[in-house]
Amino acid sequence: MAVTTPPRAVIGAPHRPYRRGAQNAILGGVCGGLAIRLGVKERTVRIVFALLALAWGLGLLLYIALWLTLARSGEDESIAQRLLGHRRELYRVIIGLLAIVAILFLLRAIGLPSVGAYTWPFLLTLIGVAAVWHGASTDERHHLHELVKSTPLVGVPASRSRGSFWLRVVLGAILVFAGLVVLRQLGNHRVFINGTQSGWAFGSLAPAIIGTLILLAGVVVLLAPWWLATMNDLSGERRERVRVEERARVAAHLHDSVLQTLTLIERAAGDEAAVVRLARNQERELRRWLFDPDAPSEEGGTFAASLRALQSEIENDYGVRVELVTVGDCDASDDVAALVAAGREAVINAARWSGANTIAVYGEVETDSLSLFVRDQGRGFDVEAIPSDRQGIALSIRQRMAQRGGTVVLKSTPSAGTDVQLTLPHH
């Protein structure tokens, strides 16, 4: 399970469980994570590990083992688990290990075991690096990429000028040479101590690791800019692909909606009502796509969504503009359905009878009430003398609201407009 640990160590406050640090990591976050776990300074842990590394490379082995087997903060799998989960990656590691064994046997067979003695730590480390790289999460890979990029001499800024290129080549070559010299010492040392060619002396591990590190640093200095450039090419390619896909998506949408509607408008050029309706529909659709892309579909789900559905329905069927404003929102319920149904009657009423070309609808969700206001500035009527053919609508609004314990306030002034206020208690 993914566990997220605090970003930094809090001195004196140990935090379980032990995860590799993500925010306070320099390399793999092993030390940073341990500092968080123990509640001590990051620097203290790092110094202890560095000292341990000098003791027969113990710190380094421990570091790599923890890097591979410990999950990073916020992730559910360790690098080793991830590798074990992916057969292909696992096979690569196994093949790498077998190759090392094969090389060592080969060297021994042709009588050069001392060469093998100083190559195996180097090869093993290479495999470890490859394993980390393949098993790391995208986040961690990004972190490592940034790390290499910001390292002086290796990172991108350093690779610009010709001077720094030569500096890098010379420095890299010196490091590789120095590493080989140290490893050579190890070869002599081993032969000198053991005399025979059997077995690998454990005491020679420290120079082996130090030599390997120097050699590896040399290789990194020499090759990293090339590797980074390849990485950048790849991510540039990925970006370009995303951009092209996005463009295709936009083009497809515009074709299905705007372009179609424009054709329809051209065809309906004589029919003003149809043109207005088409344009308004398209405007609403495009607006939602541009500014409100993740809005829930009109079929409802919430109070605001069912009001939006009502808005489209009325604008389509009656050719009037519905100005909708909502404040707050809540999930659909029987109350919401009843209120919207009553509001729908009021809006249809206004669309049919008022003669106004805009109807304002305002819905508000408060902690203890739901309200819906429908207003037009059309011809209005005398509330006391509602014509019999319109009685039904007023009645059905009142009934719907009364059933749920709500209230209806109906105000209308002849030639000034009508205002219907619907309120329901809400829990």
């Binding site: 100005e323 404003v325 805009t358 304002a360």
Partner: protein, 216 residues
């Protein structure tokens, strides 16, 4: 007061010529610009009373114009005119100093009314903007500690809420006055006070709210 001196900023020639012909005779159009750089230069040079400002333009849009000019031309007032009524756009341009925000679907008489109102130093709220403000300011108490709240800036008075609610319901200032039994002047001062709170409040929820609303 004579006709207000109006400056148009919009990158669409079609919109500008439409506004020009419809506003002609009612306001004094002193210039127009179709991009941010030119707008910044010409507004400072001509110091109009009202700038009709398009929100979405290349190179920063209306926001960039407002930020560059607002301090240098204290007498010039800005009315944002946009096709978008996304919360983020509306809230950010008002917070940058615009005195009002209307969408391009507004009717010509309403737009003229808005221009005159802004020229007179009042605020113009579309129903949608009023809804946003009610929504944003109703978050109070959710995670504000009492010490953080400046009642003068962070809270709306009950009266201001009433006024905003009526604007959201499509009432004109005059209708609101009639409904609440107060003068139009008083309605205007309530709206201006809400505008001031909207521009000055520190509540970070406002910006968060606006950007989150666009994601929901």
């Amino acid at each position: 007061m004579g006709q207000p001196r109006v400056f148009l900023v919009d990158d669409h020639e079609l919109i500008r010529s439409g506004l020009r012909s419809e506003l002609a005779g009612w306001v004094d159009i002193v210039g127009e610009a179709d991009e941010v750089e030119a707008a910044i230069e010409m507004i400072q040079e001509r110091t109009p009373d009202v700038v009709l400002l398009d929100v979405h333009m290349p190179a920063g849009g209306g926001l960039a114009v407002l930020r560059a000019v607002a301090d240098k031309c204290p007498a010039t007032r800005f009315l944002a005119l946009s096709v978008s009524d996304a919360a983020e756009d509306v809230i950010s341009i008002i917070r940058a100093g615009a005195r009002g925000y209307v969408t391009k679907t507004i009717s010509m008489p309403d737009l003229l009314d808005a221009i005159y109102r802004v020229a007179a130093g009042d605020a113009v709220f579309s129903p949608r903007l009023a809804g946003f403000v009610l929504d944003a300011f109703s978050l109070e108490g959710t995670n504000l500690s009492p010490g953080d709240v400046d009642p003068d800036l962070d809270l709306l008075t009950p009266r201001e809420r009433q006024v905003l609610r009526l604007i959201a319901r499509g009432y004109s200032y005059r209708d609101i006055g009639t409904e609440l039994d107060i003068s139009t002047k008083t309605v205007e001062s309530h709206v201006s006070s809400v505008l001031r709170k909207l521009q000055l409040t520190n509540r970070h929820q406002l910006t968060n709210w606006a950007s989150e609303r666009n994601l929901n």
